[in-house]
């Protein structure tokens, strides 16, 4: 069975996504790293669905729907931010700083 290797790979992919979020400053790249983390979790669901029944695959279906909605709204927010400050670098977005 591929359950053990699949869980290990998904752990590595999730950690890489977290590293990307912590390392980068470009809002769009950070957003892409969040998608990478969602993909790693999907891999966990699929690996467990192979032995525990098809419910995991259906949950992945819903995760994909939420990810699509999140991408549409998130990119619209980034677009609005860029229009406001002409930058997507998170260091230059300091609206909440007193």
């Amino acid at each position: 069975m591929l359950l053990g290797p699949a869980l290990a790979v998904s752990a590595v992919l999730f950690a890489l996504g977290v590293a990307g979020v912590l390392v980068r400053r470009n809002a769009i790249v950070i957003f892409m790293c969040v998608e990478l983390m969602l993909n790693a979790v999907n891999l966990t669901f699929i690996a467990l669905a192979q032995t525990l029944g098809v419910a995991g695959q259906i949950f992945v279906f819903f995760v994909m729907a939420v990810a699509a909605a999140e991408a549409a709204v998130g990119l619209a927010i980034i677009l609005a931010m860029f229009r406001h400050g002409r930058t997507v670098n998170l260091q230059n977005i300091t609206l909440l700083k007193g």
Binding site: A6, L16, V23, N39, N42, L43, I58, L79
Partner: protein, 173 residues
């Protein structure tokens, strides 16, 4: 089984390498294209894990739709020139590596440990069900019976996302 395992590790290795390239490229477009490569490798892993329908969805929805949206926004904002690196400095890099490494080790240990409760079955019931119902039917039947209400609620979520995206991206209300 060894052939399956060999294919699995080949695709997994490619996925990890392209994910690492995705988070280190300076150009956002290169980053997005490496993420597309990662998603294709993950789709291949889905096929090896008896989830062919979800693998097709992964290619269509993630690699096809969501990443095109990302590339579209990157090109719309004219960020593909590269320019100065947006990576954090050495201190931030060290902290990020430390935190992500600690998380990765923890997840790895959890994934390697035996779960509590009854032990998992050794045979795969999913592959047998796919022989009877077909690859799509095995997902579609529970989706439209047991999970019908969540499926309908998803349509409300997508409607809210459409309205939200239009409102946010509009120049003036």
């Amino acid at each position: 089984m060894p052939a399956t395992l060999l294919l699995f590790w080949a695709f997994a290795g490619l996925a990890v390498v392209s994910a690492a390239l995705c988070i280190t490229r300076r150009n956002p477009i290169a980053s997005a294209l490496w993420l597309v490569v990662t998603m294709f490798q993950i789709a291949a892993l889905f096929v090896l894990l008896d989830a062919q329908f979800i693998a097709v969805l992964q290619v269509l929805v993630y690699a096809g739709a969501i990443m095109v949206l990302f590339l579209f926004v990157i090109m719309l904002l004219n960020l593909g020139r590269g320019g100065a690196s947006d990576m954090r400095g050495p201190a931030g890099l060290a902290v990020a590596t430390l935190l992500a490494g600690a998380l990765g080790v923890q997840l790895f240990i959890v994934a390697r440990s035996t779960p509590p409760g009854p032990s998992l079955p050794v045979t795969s019931p999913l592959a047998a069900a796919e022989q009877v119902e077909g690859m799509v039917g095995v997902v579609a039947n529970p989706l439209f019976t047991t999970y019908l209400v969540p499926f309908e609620i998803t349509s409300i979520l997508l409607l809210a996302a459409i309205v939200g995206a239009v409102v946010l991206a509009k120049r003036q209300l």
